[in-house]
Amino acid sequence: MSLSDTATPTRQPSPSAVTKADIAKAGATRSRNAAKWKLVVGTVCTLLVIIPIILAQVLPLPDANFQDLSARRLPPFTNGHLFGTDQLGRDLLSRVLHGGQVSLTIGLLAVLVSGAIGIILGSAAGYFGGWVDTIISRVLEAQMSLPLLMMLLLVVALFGPSIPVITFVIAIAQWPEVARLTRSMVLVEREKPYVSAARILGLHRVQILIQHIIPNVIKQATLVVLLLLAQAVLLESALSFLGAGPQRPFATWGRIISDGQDYITTSWWMVTLPGLVIVLMVVGVNLLGDGLRDRPRRKKKGA
């Protein structure tokens, strides 16, 4: 369904005039190839980071917290340190992988919680209006008017930087984005004729919302949720960067980068490499989300 394929004039009335080259150039083919490419590259990038993270305990790596003061700030590829060592002589790769286990767990759990809350409350607020909308919008507005990171820092200070607390805090921080977007889409959807038609047919309001409106907005909403997984990992690393990340058992990505910041001019790898690992994984997740989003749309049309 691209712009280019609608304007193509038919050369001959016979269907055999469509050559293989035409099909390869067609919008649908290109779209399928792009989606496939994104899926493949996304999967490769994600697995490239996730598999070593999962296998961190099994891989022949030095202990992440083992300090060797005689081997401080070694550049990458020296003495078997693939990523080099940090200012205390700890193996950087091992630290990045062990920290990644913590970051990933937090990200996945946080996204599941925030996505569910956001879609349910956002669509309810947009569709039902009235007091439902007033309450949810007020909570949304109150939360969005709070300095987000300050609240996160505050809550972490209050309950301690443990993994459940940080997970919960990220989930609570993320649901407004899903909810507000869902609400604004539902707000437009509910004025469309098919909603009136469904109402005239005697469908219950909840039924209209669940069966007719939500399917029209769910695609964009889930895309946001997928992007949120990437954002959750980024948010967690930002918290760690500001010193409010989980301390045990391993320092997470943001903390590693924050530690290396003081040595950036002499030891570039201590900031650059952990950052690149984050970028690689988050790019992978995002590409994956994109590819997955493009796939069902094509299937639905063919069916």
């Binding site: 779209s31 507005e141 987000l148 300050m150 505050l154 209050l158 604004s184 707000l187 109402r199 984050i278």
Partner: protein, 311 residues
């Protein structure tokens, strides 16, 4: 319409009130004693008690809250512990810096992201589009503190074109703005593309095209017109969020804005300063949200404000 605005204003003020109250309770529940960070680690018990009395922290929490409410209505939230100046004044002095940074970032974002998104939506799945697409994905995948440190190292240390920190010259605005805008451009341009693609696929556009409407009109008036609400919402929401201080970027670039102030206020448990920051930023953000909602009917005549779906 006037009723709607008045109602929303009232609700907005109530939101601000609930917000500052929540923060009041939260910071008093949080561990950490402002007297300790004020008087230093070597202070005696008597000195600590004196400091607490001076700040009114020895009184019951309810009484503190009552005093806080009185202060709230006079607009004077008391002296900042660490700055020894009225807290509201300290925040107000920092606000222009955050406003400058937020405005510059959102302008750069809008100017780049909207044309970029439209450009992508008109060439779906071509090689060029895929390349730009991957670039935007990379843009939203970089942690902003990391991007900041990288830009800082690259363009302030190795090649010293721009100042490394602070806001002494306009050049100091460049690196923080770019750091923020990279992420925002990536997010907004992808959202523009998504909205536009959906509209290009809609039947009304095919009808319009068959009537001979020009391509530029189809793009900007038809498809863009129908994409305006989500795009505007996203831009506005991001701007409102930035007013609360772009904490990480401000910390990396030592930007003298509200964000770095918050981090400092939290570290020193400077209660009046925390409350003043929350009050001012909450007021601003609620204002921006109100403007966004009021603009909906201008962008899409089908939206009627304050009217619920009737069964």
């Amino acid at each position: 319409m006037t009723n709607y605005i008045l109602k929303r204003l009232g609700q907005g003020l109530l939101t601000v009130f609930l917000t500052v109250s929540t923060v009041f309770i939260l910071i008093r529940l949080a561990p950490g004693d402002p007297a300790v960070s004020y008087a230093g680690p070597l202070a005696t018990t008597e000195q600590l008690a004196a400091v607490r009395q001076q700040f009114g922290l020895d009184r019951p929490v309810l009484e503190q809250y009552w005093i806080f409410l009185q202060q709230l209505f006079t607009g004077n939230l008391g002296q900042s512990y660490s700055f020894q100046a009225p807290a509201m004044q300290v925040v107000a002095e920092r606000m222009p810096y955050t406003l400058t940074l937020a405005t510059a970032s959102i302008l750069l974002t809008a100017v780049v992201a909207i044309p970029l998104g439209v450009w992508m939506s008109r060439r779906p799945d071509t090689g060029k589009e895929l390349g730009v697409n991957v670039l935007t994905i990379a843009g939203q995948s970089m942690p902003d503190f990391w991007t900041g440190i990288m830009l800082l190292t690259g363009f302030a240390v190795l090649i010293p074109i721009f100042p490394a920190s602070g806001f002494a010259t306009w050049g100091g605005l460049v690196l923080p703005t770019i750091t923020i805008a990279i992420l925002q451009i990536a997010l907004i341009s992808r959202m523009v593309r998504r909205e536009m693609t959906a509209n290009f696929a809609a039947p009304y556009l095919t009808v319009a095209r068959s009537r001979g409407v020009r391509n530029s009109v189809l793009t900007w008036r038809y498809a863009m017109g129908n994409s305006a609400i989500p795009v505007f919402t996203a831009l506005g929401t991001r701007f409102a969020a930035m007013l609360n201080g772009v904490v990480v970027v401000e910390v990396v670039f030592a930007w003298p804005g509200v964000g770095s102030l918050i981090v400092r206020a939290l570290e020193t448990r400077d209660y009046p300063l925390i409350q003043a920051t929350v009050l001012l930023t909450a007021l601003l953000a609620v204002g921006v949200q109100l403007v966004i909602d009021l603009a909906y009917p201008l962008l899409d005549p089908r939206v009627r404000l304050g009217k619920a779906a009737t069964a």
